[in-house]
Subunit: 149 residues, 2 copies
C-alpha cells in the first residue's frame, strides 16, 4: 500500500528539481519528521515536537514554508478546520477518505465512501466545475462521548 519514506523523499526531490528548487536538508528532514509524527497533526504541535528533538531540527518558518510545498506535492492535506486551527494529514499512499470529528474529545474517525466521491463528481460535471480537492467534515459526538452524556 503505502510507499516508504525513502521513496517519498526521492519523489519529493524530483518534484523540487522540476520546480528548480533546491533539495535541502530541512525539506527532506521534515518528511522524516512528519512520517514519525502522528498521522493527523496541527502545525504548532508539530513545531513544538520538532523543537524537542535533538537531531533534525527545522524552524517554525521553514515548517510553514515546507508544508505548503508538501501540500502542493500531494504528501499532506488540510483535512480539518476547527477553532481556527488547521489539522493536516499525511496522505501518501493512502486512498482518499473523509472524517468524522468529535467536538467533545477531538477524536478523528476516517471513512471511505466511493458513492459520495462519485456523487461529487456528478455535481461538478453539472456545474462545469473542475475540482482540485475537497473536504468533508462531519462534526458531532463519537460513541463514547455520546454515551457519557
Amino acid at each position: 500500500m503505502g510507499i516508504s519514506t525513502e521513496e517519498l523523499k526521492r519523489e519529493f526531490t524530483k518534484f523540487l528539481k522540476k520546480k528548480n528548487m533546491r533539495v535541502t536538508k530541512s525539506r527532506l528532514n521534515l518528511i522524516d519528521l512528519i512520517a514519525d509524527y502522528n498521522k493527523h497533526f496541527e502545525i504548532e504541535e508539530l513545531v513544538n515536537w520538532i523543537s524537542t528533538k535533538s537531531d533534525k531540527k527545522v524552524s517554525r518558518s521553514t515548517v510553514y514554508r515546507t508544508l505548503k510545498l508538501l501540500e502542493e506535492f500531494g504528501a499532506i492535506k488540510e483535512v480539518i478546520k476547527k477553532n481556527n486551527k488547521t489539522i493536516y494529514e499525511f496522505v501518501v499512499g493512502r486512498s482518499h477518505h473523509d472524517h468524522l470529528v468529535c467536538t467533545e474529545c477531538g477524536k478523528i474517525i476516517e471513512f471511505v465512501n466511493e458513492d459520495i466521491e462519485s456523487l461529487q463528481n456528478e455535481i461538478c460535471k453539472r456545474y462545469n466545475f473542475k475540482p482540485t480537492h475537497h473536504r468533508l467534515e462531519i462534526f458531532g459526538l463519537c460513541s463514547e462521548c455520546n454515551r457519557s452524556r
Copy 2:
C-alpha cells in the same frame, strides 16, 4: 419558504430568554444587518460594512460574540474555511446545501444533494456517531476561470 426577519428576531428573542440572556439592541440589530448583507460573508468584511452604516452600529467584539450565539441558535453557519478566514452563511429558512468554491475568483456555488446527505447518515450510524453538523467544500475552478486558463 424563508421566514421574515421580524419572525426571526422573535424566535431569537425566545432563544435568548430561554438561556436567561438579555435581549439587547445590538443582538437584534445584527440580525437585521446580516439579513441586509450578502448571504455569504466574512466577519471582517461584515464588521467594516457595519461601521459605514449610520444607524444600527455594532462593534467588532459584539459582532464576534453575537455570531456565536446566532450559530448556536441556527441562523448562521460556518460554511467555508479558506485562507484562515471563516465564511458564514445566513441559513434561516433555507434547506441544507453544500458548496463549490472557486479558488481563482472566489465564487461560491451552492448545491443540494439528498443522496450525499443520506450516505452521510448511513456512515454515522455505522460508527455510532451522532452528527451535529457537517461541511462539504469542493475546491476547484469554476467554468469561467477554467475557460480563461
